[in-house]
């Protein structure tokens, strides 16, 4: 019964004040919107794409080389035996499968950190957007002001606090600070104020649905593109985090991939160390593949989410 009422509440809103659409794609057929394609402009933009993609190509090409070939072949072309699979196998098995451990750690930090950050941002953004409570404007001013504080200003006291609480060298030291995403809160605030019509909430209330139930059953689905966007961006932040684990984690068993790769590189660069540059390069490639895949596969969601967020800027 709830769904029917809600469905009818959604419908009018399509033509209501919330539905003033930005011109959709078909409207762009106009001459202003379908200008002639320009070869010059395409070539100029291609230069930027080349700049963007050459390092990634370099990374892939060199992940296919053996350590000796790496040192004495031209950087931007394949050379010798195609050693990618061997390199991957060696990356995973080197030093008693430590890379697998780092990968699992990273996944743990991302699942708890990015998942938790998204959850808190969605709850908070929804609360800020849909309820007028005392102190609402103050909340946002404080959060935005805090963004300008450099992480190192926070790092030392956070480290000292956490070490007193016995949290350093544990996953919590990385997860807890990752739970706050001011950008995510902002994006969800903007997104929720547009995606959820007040009429819908009113209908749910008239229908006797509690606030929490309304949030989970009615609002969450409408917030999906925003949630995916925030999740993707917090995932990138957590997956790529370097500074926070650098100060919090001393035990290599709790390293995320980023710290592990840096440790391998430092080992390879020192005079007596075992040169494992092929592993650093292959490990780097393996580290970026999941995120690039996620961005490519979820394009539709995060581009919608970002467009909505940009209206306010």
């Amino acid at each position: 019964m709830t769904t029917e009422v809600l469905a009818s509440a959604v419908e009018p809103s399509r033509s209501g004040p919330y539905a003033v659409p930005r011109p959709s794609r078909p409207a762009r057929r106009h001459s202003v919107d379908r200008p002639r394609r320009s070869v010059t402009l395409t070539v100029l933009t291609s230069l930027v794409v080349i700049y963007t993609l050459v390092p990634l190509a370099w990374l892939f090409i060199n992940a296919t080389k053996t350590q000796p070939r790496l040192l004495n072949s031209f950087g931007l072309w394949f050379s010798g035996h195609f050693a990618l699979w061997d390199n991957i196998r060696e990356t995973f098995t080197y030093n008693d499968h430590i890379f697998v451990r780092w990968l699992l750690n990273t996944l743990l930090y991302v699942a708890l950190g990015a998942g938790g950050a998204t959850f808190l941002a969605v709850l908070g953004g929804y609360g800020l957007a849909k309820f007028d409570f005392p102190g609402r404007r103050g909340v946002f001013a404080v959060v935005i002001g805090a963004v300008a504080v450099p992480p190192t200003a926070l790092a030392v006291p956070t480290f000292l606090m956490f070490s007193r609480m016995g949290l350093t060298n544990t996953p919590w030291a990385v997860v807890i600070p990752s739970l706050i995403s001011p950008f995510g809160l902002y994006l969800m605030w903007v997104f929720a104020s547009e995606a959820i019509p007040d009429e819908l909430l009113e209908a749910a209330r008239v229908d006797g649905s509690g606030e929490i139930r309304t949030f989970f059953r009615v609002c969450l689905p409408l917030l999906a593109p925003g949630i995916v966007t925030v999740l993707l961006f917090t995932m990138v932040t957590t997956w790529n985090n370097y500074f926070l684990p650098l100060i919090m984690i001393k035990n290599p068993d709790w390293y995320p991939l980023t710290l592990g790769l840096n440790a391998w590189n430092a080992q390879a660069a020192t005079a007596g160390g075992q040169p494992v540059f092929n592993l650093v390069i292959t490990g780097s490639l393996l580290t970026i593949v999941p995120l690039i895949a996620a961005f490519l596969l979820l394009q539709r969601y995060w581009q919608t989410g970002l467009s909505a967020g940009s209206v306010k800027q």
């Binding site: 809103s13 659409p21 930005r22 011109p23 200008p35 320009s38 402009l41 100029l44 933009t45 794409v49 700049y51 963007t52 993609l53 990374l59 031209f74 950087g75 808190l120 941002a121 709850l123 908070g124 929804y126 609360g127 800020l128 957007a129 849909k130 309820f131 007028d132 409570f133 404080v142 959060v143 805090a146 300008a148 450099p150 200003a153 790092a155 030392v156 606090m161 807890i176 739970l179 104020s193 547009e194 995606a195 007040d198 909430l201 689905p221 990138v236 790529n240 370097y242 500074f243 980023t258 660069a269 540059f277 970026i288 690039i292 996620a294 919608t304 970002l306 909505a308 940009s310 800027q313």
Partner: protein, 311 residues
Amino acid sequence: MAAISPPNAAGRAEPPGRRRAYATGRRRWIGWGFVAPFLLVFALVFLAPIGYSVYLSLFRDRLIGGNSFVGLDNYRQAFHDHEFWSGLGRVGLFLAVQVPIMLGIALLVALALDSGRLHGRNFFRISIFLPYAVPAVVATLMWGFMYGNRFGLVASLNEHLGLSLPDPLSPHLVLASIGNIVTWEFTGYNMLIFYSALHVIPRSLYEAAEIDGAGQFRIVRSVKLPAIRGALVIATIFSIIGSFQLFNEPSILKSLAPNAITTYFTPNLYTFALSFSGQQQNYAAAVAIVMAVVTMIVAYVVQLRGMRKEA
């Protein structure tokens, strides 16, 4: 169904502050319930450390006498600290050169994409954005290897093409090399912010401008740029904050260029070295607070200037 469709109301809603919200009776406080979890964690990982940092900065650990209150002595020391100022000068230079280049490229690409005159627009948009998904560690290692003379691209080019390119990791080029890495990482991200802002400009404005006889460049100058001023200001502020906080790239590049990057290369490297290698946590807290204040002042001035032009 609803989960996969874009929000039906994307576009022109009023700013959050002016939006209609529920203010009736007992519902007034329900909003706090939704915001409270965020604020609790925020207080733990932002507010508490900031407060503790200020507290720390007012003390000093002495060999004789132990931990004692010294008032603003740590701040006085920072103002006469040559290493701190040299780091600050370096990130200032970085800011003045790298940020305009990066934002300029990002804006040009966003305008090109938005003009609809490109072949394969989606390919361009996603390819240029991709580096954002690459961790700073991987980006720095990748570029560091390419810069390097052992098996890097610079060495390769010199050897195979008979060139004599200078060493990008030498002390006087390393800052530019770091600038290049940061530009590579964040051009696409800023481009996407600009592109998203351009995307929601009502097309009718362009038609009106065209009827008035405006050319493409005139439309860019008089319609598009003013319409995305907010996005430009936000991107500039975030880039300024990012520059002042420069840490990852020089810190990782240090193992490849140990002679070119000092422990006080940037203020953030300096505070890191002070607190974790030097055990001067009180002084480090003071330096970090000075940096935070400088950052906020510069960001605030940019915001004021950016918004004043709007009037």
